[in-house]
Symmetry: C2
Subunit: 116 residues, 2 copies
């Protein structure tokens, strides 16, 4: 059985790393309810918007995402607004989506279901 995305780790990408097939993307998305694949800035991105009351809960989520992004060497785009945090993930070296994006997405989701 495949290792759950949240338990995997991002691997360093070289320029030219291939992007995932639509089949792989769809398979990963089944593990990530709440996330969707969007076309933005000329390539596919993995996106989710978390909703909150007020501003501070979004700031706190940014603070919890940051050490994971640093540890994985993979960084999301985070749009923090009053009441929401939009997370966009894509792999610059590949010019699209790789396993790394889905792994980080799963780790971010995990922040909201654990106290850790």
């Amino acid at each position: 059985m495949a290792t759950p995305l949240a338990e995997r780790h991002c691997v360093a990408c070289e320029p030219g790393t291939p992007t995932l097939s639509r089949e792989d993307i769809d398979r990963h998305l089944q593990e990530l309810p709440g996330w969707s694949v969007v076309q933005a800035e000329g390539h596919l991105q993995l996106a989710r918007t978390y909703k909150f009351k007020g501003f501070v809960p979004g700031v706190e989520l940014v603070d919890r995402i940051a050490p994971i992004a640093e540890a994985e060497g993979h960084h999301p785009d985070l749009l923090l607004t009053y009441g929401a945090l939009r997370v966009n993930l894509w792999t610059h070296a590949a010019g699209g989506l790789t396993d790394n994006d889905f792994i980080l997405a799963a780790k971010i989701d995990q922040l909201l279901t654990t106290d850790g």
Copy 2:
């Protein structure tokens, strides 16, 4: 002499609060080098992008902006990416730019010129 923007405080806006004239906007912008007025989402916004090395300095700036936004009751849109934090300000109740946006911009700038 007018009070510097950074020393003023945001005032609560009612729906229908008038937006600033172009003349007022241009006058305020003179106090805020680095900021520009952009058209986005159907109205004017006050925007600045701060550049950093890496991801964490942007997170730290988000953390320093948050208590000011809370104290002023006025919240920016913050787009945090690797190497940059883009700040967008506008006043929802007015549907455009008010003094509050320029006051908050000045206070955010001040974070980068002081240790406080």
